[in-house]
Structures are given as structure tokens and as C-alpha cells.
Symmetry: C2
Subunit: 379 residues, 2 copies
């Protein structure tokens, strides 16, 4: 069981805090992704300095390397990676279905071959909970089936109902100590009736939090927000709501307005590694040669140490030379940007002016647009 | 002109400090290599935290990218890379001869093609000084010719004499403001008479410091130390002595004992990136599978933050997964180790017990040995 305290609300948006064995997380929260026991390129203290209070670990990657038993022997994931704050882990199912080879699903679980060495693995709902417990995860996720997109209503229904049976088995297998919790995952594709049925099934089982899965898979923002609207009155208000794998600053603002408390996404970290920076005026691609003489910062309105100390010209130089520091600095800036956005949204909810704040942010952000990829030659 | 104050001596070893436009450097000093405007993988504040007071920039790399004129327009290398402390730059000659394509030397300078794009470049002694001035280097190095190894006495003599003519032209072209200096470079291969002639030529010109070049190129430690012994009474005592491109902890200790004040080497950074860690008990290769369950630190006697917070098992995991944090943490540890060694040597000189300290360090270090590369499969 983990604690969740609601402190204020503004329309459907909520200001709250999660209380876990490893500390408090202020919500709405963005969870930085630390796939294989590291937020790529950063030391944990650098991640914490961005304002991150919780990170996400990927069970699929960690069960393959270094392995759940080894991690347990070494004292768990927090100690292993020197992250003393909360960790949420996914179930491993999504990556087993998207990364692994020769994966098959049956009623009991998922069978797959490691994308690394072809070794054969089996992941049942009970396995997923056992592995996450070995990692010492503060918030575990139930194993679910990832419904393909697009899926017919019949396909989405069959998939969702299997996920609900797995959710019940996952909940029964969950045996973590106080301060640790388990979240159910609402499925059902873009079909409101299936989403309602799924939410109802999960509430009947009872979870520490309710995640919304199977979105941001190509359905578009309007349909995604439609699912959030459809689910709003079907999820318990007193428990956190987590929109999995989302998203852009734009998506996050719209989802916070619709009552979502938690997010995770690889965008700020992965984009940072490829040269893309988030700014208040849209995104920049630092690999473009137009930055090579620019003495200005990434974002004149950003208070992060990257914007305080480095010119766009320097960041361009680092990417041009394929220096590790380029991905490091851009990941750092992007995480400051995301955490700064979350802090701004939390403040606005507390002051009951989220709608104005979100509108102002999005007007400027959308006007800035996205800088395209650099041409194949030059730069 | 830069200042150099000798504070104590112990045998031939010297404790001192360099005073430059960007601050003081305590000697004997190890200069961390920051080739292309970055110490690979680390933020400047992380480099400074290891104890580094001065870094080395490579003129060859910087003249190609981002270019000397651009760097000057952007405010110089210190500002560009956010390193407010002293920077020494090499002349570019060594890398032009070792990295570039189609390089030729004539009496006036070096012609070469960039290893990056085949573009044609020319580097004369005057160019080398002008470029280093554009970078804002605190300590510039004269352009010299890299004598091949092995070289006959006649070859080494001809090469050294050209380097002395270039040293004179470099000195004449040096026009940096107060707090900036230029070092001459003693050449002459393994031939004591040539080294004496070279030192004498440089003293006649007059430099802020005297580097010893052309060593650690395959001649072996005994011959290298022989050159230091032969040069000892031929270099002015009141100016710093810099042994270029050296070296292992072993080499550094032996050279400090012989009166060397400054070192630079890629070993701690480059080794760190490939998984090799320096410890008081020799070197480790973290890619070896034997570390995968080891909960202990790299070095139980190291006070660095890497040894405080991370197990060998974690570092092995990072290298196995090719995670950026592996090279980052090992580079960091290795730089702490090198800077810790320098601090220990400085303390010992001040207390006139360098010989005992060096002997104790080397006995343990040499007994530890070097861990071999991991096998091609597994690990």
C-alpha cells in the first residue's frame, strides 16, 4: 500500500502527493525513464537536480541484464543504481512484445526470446510481480496484454478481458511490504464501453493506483483525450491516475487538465541523445548547421545550468563531433524543461489557474514549431 | 608571462605553483585531456571536482572543428566549454602528423589534409601561435617536429634542429597578454648530447616553461628516465618542466622524483571509456564477467564518489549494456585516482618523504598487476 493525498484541485486537475517507501512524489509528476538501471548519460544526482522525484525502470531489460535474482542479491535496484528515491517499474510485458523475438501469448503468459542473445524466457502475471518485488520497486505494474492499434472492438475486448484476468492474478501475487504498491492498467483501445468495463473490473479488484494503457500508439491526441474524458468518472478519485508512455509537453498539459497525476516518456531523454531540445518556443535540432555561430542559450527563459553556461554553438559543436557531452547536456536540459513544466502545472493547480497557464504555455510552444532534421550532408 | 613559484623540494622533486590568467595550478600537476573542447563524458564541474586545476586542449582538433576564428568570435575556449580555469594547448603539430592524411613537412611548416573531410591545411610556427592565441590558451606550446622513434642520431639531430628554428619563430610570434605564457619543447630523441643542445637552444631563446617532448613513444621507461636524468642540470630550475604525453601512475611517480612539474595523458580518460579502472592495486577491466556479482567498490581505499556509491557489479552491468554511464563513471574514478595521486605526491614533497611515498605506492600498484581483456565471447 502506498499513500496518496490530494491537496488541491482545479477543474478536473489534481494536486497531490504519493507517499512511498522511498519518499514522496509531488503530482502531477513526470517519471524519467531509466531503462536498464540508469537514466542514460546522467548520474543519479544530476537526475535528482532536475527535479525528478521518481524514475521508471524497465522490467524486461532488467530481468535479462543483470537479472532479477542477481539484482536481489545485490540489494535491489535502488542500491544498485544509487537512486534512493521512488522507482516505478513496468511489468515487462510491453517490451517483451515489442523488442523480443518469437514472442507468443497464451492465457497463462508471454513466451519470448531475448533480443540480446536469443535465450528463451517466460513471463506470467505471477513472474512479473515476483521480478518487480526482487527489484524492490516502490510501484509495481500488473502484467497486461498490449492491444495492437488499430484493433476491432472484438479484438480490443478479448485483449482487455485477458488483461483483466491477468490483473487479478497479478494483484493476488503482489506481496510487497508497506510503502510499496501495485497499479492496475485500464485497457480497451479507443472504445469507451470497453474502457468502462476495464475500469470497473480493476476497481473491483482494488489497486493502489490506476494506469491507462494502450494510448499514444497512433490513435492521435484527440482520441487519446477522448479516452481520458470517457474514463474520468469511472476511476476512483482518491487514487492516482497514470497515463503510460505519454508524452509531449502538449499531451501532458492536456492530460493534466483531464485529471492525470503521473506520466512517463522517453521523449526528453531519447530526443536529447539525438540532438533535439525542448524549449518554450518548440523544439530545436542542434545538429543543424544554423546553430554553429549562435552564442545564445537553448532557451533564454530556461533557468537550467545548461542554458546558463552553454551556447547553442557549443552544443552544435558537440553533436557535430559526436562527443558524449552533447547527449548528456541535451538530456539534462530536456529533463529540466519537463520537470519545470510539471512544477509550473502543479503551482497553477494550487492557484486554480491551470487553464490560463496551460493555454499560455501551449500558445507559445505550438507557435515555435519543430525544427526539422538537418540535411544528410553538411552541418 | 606566467608566474611559477617553487615552494619546497625533496631531492630533485619540486613543489610549486603556476600562476596564470585563469588561476593557480599546484605542481606537480596532471593535466586532464579535453581534446575537442570537452573532457569526454564529463561536465566541467565534474572535472574540477576531481581536483583538476588545468586541462589540455588539442589545437589540431579545435582548428578543424569548430575552427579558431569561430572560437575567437564566440569568446575563446574557456567560455565556449565553460571551463574558467587554466588551459594549456598543444601546437597541433603532433596530431597533424599522427592523425591527418597526406601530411608533409618542409622548413616552413606542416601541410596536411583533415582526417575528417580531406580539406587542406597549413600549419607554420606562426600559425600555431596565432591559433592558440585565438583559443585564449593560458599556456601555448611551440610548434615542433615529432621525431620518429626509433631514429638514428643524425635523423634525431636534424629533426631537433628544425624544431629549435621553429621554437625561435614560435617565440617571436607569441603575443599573448599577461598571465599567458609559451613553453619550448626539448627534442633530441634518446641522445643525451642532442637533448643538451636542444635545452641550451631553448634557454637562449627564453621560455615560460620547458617541455620534454618525443618520449613515451616506445623507448621504454628506463630510456625515458635516462633522458630526464640527462636533462636535469640543463633546464632552468626556476621555470616549470613538463613531460608531454606521460603517463602511467608508475611513469608519473618516477618522473616527479626526477623533478618534473607537469604531465598530460589520455590514459585515465581513454582507459575509463574502454572499461579499465586504475586502483591502488593495479588496473581492473570492468568488462570481465568476474565482476558481475561483486558488491565491492572499484577500490576500497579510494574516497571518490564512484567508489562510495557503486559496486563493481553495477559498473560491469553498465559496460555490458553499453550504457554511457559506464564510461562516465570510470572516467570520473580514474581522474579522481590520478588527481589523488598527484595530491599525495605534492604532500610527500612538502614533507620531504617522496621517496618513501613513491616506493610504497609503486610496491602495491605493481603487485596488483593489470587485468587482461575479457574473452571475445561471454562477459
Amino acid at each position: 500500500m502506498i499513500g496518496f493525498t490530494l491537496q488541491a484541485s482545479d477543474g478536473r486537475a489534481r494536486l497531490g502527493q504519493l507517499e512511498t517507501a522511498h519518499g514522496v512524489v509531488h503530482t502531477p509528476a513526470f517519471m524519467t525513464v531509466g531503462t536498464a538501471g540508469t537514466v542514460k548519460g546522467l548520474l543519479p544526482e544530476q537526475v535528482a537536480a532536475t527535479g525528478a522525484e521518481i524514475i521508471l525502470g524497465n522490467t524486461y531489460h532488467l530481468m535479462l541484464r543483470p537479472g532479477a535474482e542477481r539484482l536481489a542479491r545485490l540489494g535491489g535496484l535502488h542500491k544498485f543504481m544509487n537512486w534512493p528515491s521512488p522507482i516505478l517499474t513496468d511489468s515487462g510485458g510491453f517490451q517483451a512484445m515489442s523488442l523480443a523475438k518469437l514472442r507468443t501469448i497464451d492465457e497463462d503468459g508471454i513466451t519470448f526470446q531475448s533480443h540480446l542473445d536469443g535465450s528463451r524466457w517466460r513471463l506470467t502475471p505471477e513472474d512479473a510481480m515476483g521480478i518487480q518485488a526482487s527489484l524492490g520497486s516502490d510501484i509495481q505494474m500488473v502484467l497486461d496484454e498490449c492491444t495492437p492499434f488499430p484493433a476491432s472492438e472484438a479484438e480490443a475486448a478479448a485483449s482487455m478481458r485477458r488483461s483483466m484476468r491477468w490483473a487479478e492474478r497479478s494483484r493476488a501475487a503482489f506481496k510487497a511490504p508497506p510503502g510499496h504498491g501495485v497499479f492496475g492498467i485500464v485497457q480497451g483501445g479507443v472504445y469507451a464501453a470497453l474502457r468502462h468495463e476495464s475500469a470497473s473490473a480493476l476497481r473491483a479488484i482494488g489497486f493502489d493506483g490506476y494506469a491507462i494503457g494502450g494510448l499514444a500508439v497512433g490513435e492521435g491526441q484527440a482520441q487519446m483525450l477522448g479516452v481520458l474524458d470517457a474514463l474520468d468518472s469511472h476511476l476512483p478519485t482518491e487514487r492516482p491516475r497514470y497515463l503510460m508512455g505519454v508524452g509531449t509537453p502538449d499531451d501532458i498539459i492536456e492530460a493534466v487538465i483531464r485529471g492525470i497525476d503521473m506520466f512517463d516518456c522517453v521523449l526528453p531523454t531519447r530526443s536529447g541523445r539525438t540532438g533535439r531540445a525542448y524549449t518554450h518556443d518548440g523544439t530545436l535540432n542542434l545538429r543543424n548547421a544554423r546553430h554553429q555561430d549562435d552564442a545564445g542559450p537553448l532557451d533564454a527563459d530556461c533557468a537550467c545550468p545548461v542554458c546558463a553556461h552553454y551556447a547553442r554553438a557549443y552544443l552544435h559543436h558537440l553533436f557535430r563531433c559526436e562527443e558524449m557531452l552533447g547527449p548528456i547536456l541535451l538530456t539534462l536540459h530536456n529533463l529540466y524543461f519537463y520537470q519545470g513544466l510539471m512544477a509550473r502545472l502543479r503551482r497553477a493547480i494550487g492557484e486554480r489557474r491551470l487553464s490560463d497557464e496551460g493555454t499560455a504555455f501551449l500558445a507559445r510552444y505550438r507557435a515555435g514549431g519543430k525544427e526539422t532534421e538537418p540535411p544528410a550532408v553538411g552541418g
